[in-house]
């Protein structure tokens, strides 16, 4: 039960890089990935900045060695999951029980949109091949086939906390001796569907987002995928290089307040953070860095901040929202931010919260605005909260 679960590998693709090394470099340069839409074809092009992965679908297919492009959601997943698995370099992997737990919220919506464009123009046209991977589960299957994982495949879809949930589900499968190795995280591609939807909720910033700023105006949508490779203690001893950290705590709770809005006191966030600390057997003072959910909306940041205040006051760890770099990648955000949490420990670095000018009046703390190197990072708390009140917190601890 208390057997630790180790992080053996990481993989990431987002607007700031196509692999982990490019992410580290972008963090060092404090360079955000948002910009004008170049790949997504939308009426909002030019008005709403987005954080696109800088590879087109043909480029992604080529890089992956696919004959033809499939759903972008699946290709992003393949790229990051493959990097994670390769970086883990697990000896004798084919003899181990391996699982792939992946989250996403849009599924193959990007291909479905393509289909409808031609189908609506002429019902005899439209490639049916474009819609067969519409559902979220199909995206996971495509990526699992690509990775060659057969033992255990599962898809979680709980909005923006989806991939944090897939990570602790993976950890449980290892703790209960059901699997030895789990590639866990999530993926989401930008689609018109989500862009239009978030636009109707009026929570998209027309400029680059400013999480935890008093004058924040909303989020920027992003896309990407992030995965960690979780392994049992036994597998960890077989690795050539010792893992840098464990997944020491996790908790999920429901805010039970509103479909999309967080409760004013951040009940769900508080319960998730408190529960993760308990499971990790840590106190708030042990946490070195919080990777905030920090979307940049009025509602999220004050609710999350209030919950942090309730739990941590008066001693606050370093904090930042890396969504100021990657935008909000929805179903991928928990996976990407898990990778960043591992990087904070491995690189001994606290990433900055970009564009924060005016600290929030109602909060007694301010996230870091500058990159901090040579920091002592022992325990990292990563928050992911989603619509439907689904709140998750993960804790990564240095080995």
């Amino acid at each position: 039960m208390s057997a630790p679960v180790f992080i053996a590998g990481i993989g990431a693709v987002s607007a700031i890089g196509n692999n982990v090394a490019e992410h580290v470099a972008a963090f060092e340069r404090s360079e955000a990935g948002m910009g004008a839409m170049s790949l997504l074809n939308s009426v909002h092009s030019g008005q709403l900045p987005v954080a696109e992965v800088k590879l087109s679908n043909p480029q992604l297919a080529q890089q992956l060695g696919l004959k033809a492009a499939v759903s972008r959601t699946a290709m992003l997943s393949m790229l990051a999951a493959k990097e994670a698995l390769d970086s883990a370099a697990i000896p004798g992997l084919n003899k181990l029980r391996t699982g792939f737990i992946s989250a996403n919220t849009v599924g193959g919506m990007d291909r479905t949109e393509l289909f409808f464009e031609s189908f609506l123009a002429d019902p005899s046209r439209g490639r049916l091949k474009d819609v067969i991977h519409h559902e979220c589960g199909a995206v996971t299957e495509l990526a699992a086939d690509f990775l060659g994982v057969k033992d255990y495949i599962s898809t979680i879809s709980t909005a923006c906390s989806s991939s944090a949930n897939s990570i602790f589900f993976g950890a449980r499968l290892i703790r209960n001796n059901i699997l030895d190795v789990v590639i866990a995280g999530g993926t989401d591609a930008l689609t018109k569907f989500t862009l239009n939807g978030f636009n109707t909720l009026m929570i998209l910033d027309q400029e680059f987002c400013k999480p935890f700023d008093e004058n924040r105006r909303g989020l920027n949508l992003g896309e990407g995928a992030g995965y960690v490779v979780l392994v049992s203690e036994l597998v960890a001893t077989m690795l050539e290089s010792a893992p840098v950290c464990t997944l020491s705590g996790y908790c999920n709770a429901n805010d039970a307040y509103h479909q999309t809005a967080s409760s004013p006191d951040g009940t769900g966030s508080f319960l998730a953070m408190e529960g993760a600390l308990q499971r990790a057997n840590l106190t708030p003072a042990d946490i070195s860095y919080i990777n905030l959910h920090g979307t940049g909306t009025q509602n999220n940041d004050i609710a999350e901040g209030t919950a942090i205040k309730r739990l941590f006051d008066p001693l606050y760890p370093h904090m930042s929202s890396t969504k100021s770099f990657t935008g909000h990648t929805l179903g991928a955000s928990g996976g990407l931010e898990a990778v960043f949490s591992v990087l904070a420990i491995r690189e001994r670095t606290i990433f900055p919260n970009l564009r924060l000018q005016t600290p929030m009046q109602d909060l007694p703390f301010v996230p870091e605005t500058m990159l901090i190197k040579n920091a002592s990072v022992n325990h990292v708390l990563s928050n992911s909260f989603g619509f439907g009140g689904n709140c998750s917190s993960l804790i990564f601890s240095k080995t």
């Binding site: 109707t200 909720l201 009026m202 509103h258 479909q259 999309t260 809005a261």
Partner: protein, 87 residues
């Protein structure tokens, strides 16, 4: 103004799926949110859509919402003021 207020009540009920509510149940000055009709933030966004669809009025700043959507009368006043402007 009176006709506009009556029209609005019918439109609000339809737009927000308030199936158990009748137009006469909504007072002209009754607060629409929280303690009044119990509307929430998503309803506010739907009201913005209603203004845009039925009256071609675009409320681009969500922060104006609470002021404009305080009651049916305030919405009617906002529409009247806005239509006068554009006419």
């Amino acid at each position: 103004m009176e006709k506009l207020i009556q029209d609005l009540k019918v439109q609000i009920i339809a737009q927000l799926n308030l199936q158990d509510v009748k137009p006469e149940d909504i007072g002209d000055d009754q607060p629409l949110f929280v303690e009044g009709l119990g509307l929430d933030s998503i309803d506010a966004l739907e009201l913005i859509v209603l203004l845009q669809q039925q009256y071609k009025i675009k409320l681009s700043n969500a922060e104006d919402g609470p002021k404009v959507f305080r009651s049916v009368r305030t919405i009617a006043e906002y529409i009247t003021a806005h239509q006068a402007q554009t006419a």
